[in-house]
Symmetry: C2
Subunit: 215 residues, 2 copies
């Protein structure tokens, strides 16, 4: 699956579609808590910041849901979206970087609630290695490959300075991990069969300075 240039390459499932599915899932969870049985595509559209037509198009990529005029069954679509997004099971996550951002990530409630469980934390700082960090202890970067394998880590979060990120990503990939969530402000190079998402806070901030400048 290609992940590096979605717009240019036209993958089967664009990242923007998958992001909207996550937003629909959240809204369905809220609707379910309030006891709603059905939900319309326009309700979902409001939540996903899009149109009813886009909601129907997004969902039609994955099957035939909902009945014309009746909307979607909340419990059914909830179950389907869990399966589609792969959050009907827990995931074993590794975190590289026990700094302030790493600390925020490891206590981030929304990860735990969605089944993303941090099973290993790595750092290069001898001051940090061995320290208790949530439910685990910080492990030396040197042991990265060994521990990723031992803990059957499936997704790695990289929260280190830009200069250190690529070399660590290379080691993660070489260890057989196929998914990376990168917080370092650098565009990582990874093979096409590795799923890579970037959370780049300065890029988002520049989107705002652009908007304010070009109002």
């Amino acid at each position: 699956m290609k992940h590096h240039s979605p717009e240019a390459e036209g993958p089967r499932f664009p990242d923007s579609t998958i992001r909207r599915l996550s937003l629909y899932l959240r809204f369905l969870q809220e609707a379910d808590r309030t006891g709603a049985e059905t939900i319309s595509s326009s309700d979902l559209a409001t939540r996903g910041g899009t149109t009813s037509a886009q909601v129907r198009k997004d969902l039609s990529l994955f099957g035939s849901f909902g009945k014309r005029g009746l909307g979607y069954s909340v419990p059914e679509l909830l179950r389907e979206l869990h399966q589609i997004l792969g959050v009907d099971r827990p995931w074993r996550v590794g975190l590289i970087g026990a700094g302030k951002l790493g600390s925020a990530l490891s206590s981030y409630e929304d990860f735990r609630r969605r089944g993303f469980e941090i099973r290993a934390v790595f750092d290069s700082d001898p001051q940090k290695i061995g320290k208790r960090w949530g439910e685990v202890h910080v492990i030396a970067d040197a042991d990265l490959e060994k521990v990723l394998e031992r803990e059957s880590i499936e997704i790695v979060m990289i929260a280190v300075p830009a200069g250190a990120a690529q070399a660590l990503a290379d080691r993660v990939v070489a260890s057989g991990v196929h998914a990376i969530l990168n917080f370092a402000p650098i565009r990582l190079r990874t093979p096409d069969d590795v799923a890579l998402r970037n959370v780049d806070m300065a890029v988002e901030m520049e989107g705002l300075s652009f908007a304010l400048t070009n109002r």
Copy 2:
């Protein structure tokens, strides 16, 4: 400027284009540090995770840069991109939420380096109010409107739990701030003339569980 449903509404400058401009800017800064005088659209494409054609299209939205066959002048394009993205000047930023994520954000080097200066930090926790936080002191949420105005805050980062975010965003908007970077895992409702970007880490994580599930 519409920001809520870029794909559906087709604004003049899609968020995806602006994100790529930020990536081009980073690569130009690196190239400039190594003393490069010119750069090709294919070099920029590699960095932005896209194609040469897309680079030329992105830049052509903002003017006529580069000479056919000669590429782009690094210092010239650097200057232009700074202006286009509005990072040729500093920005006064407020942060709501003095938790772990807020702590990571306020010490995030890439913000400072790009001129995003945190001038006020807010929290509702009496234990935190008054505490030193980088170069400022934590201020009570109750004083939000007063301090946003006094400090001429232009961009607000929201790093509070989902349940508290919308009410705070409403107060930020009512105070005349036109740009919000939201880290709360909720889709905020804001008027069309407010620029809103969401950094939603769980959504990105679900993009990875999706990719692993649908390999």
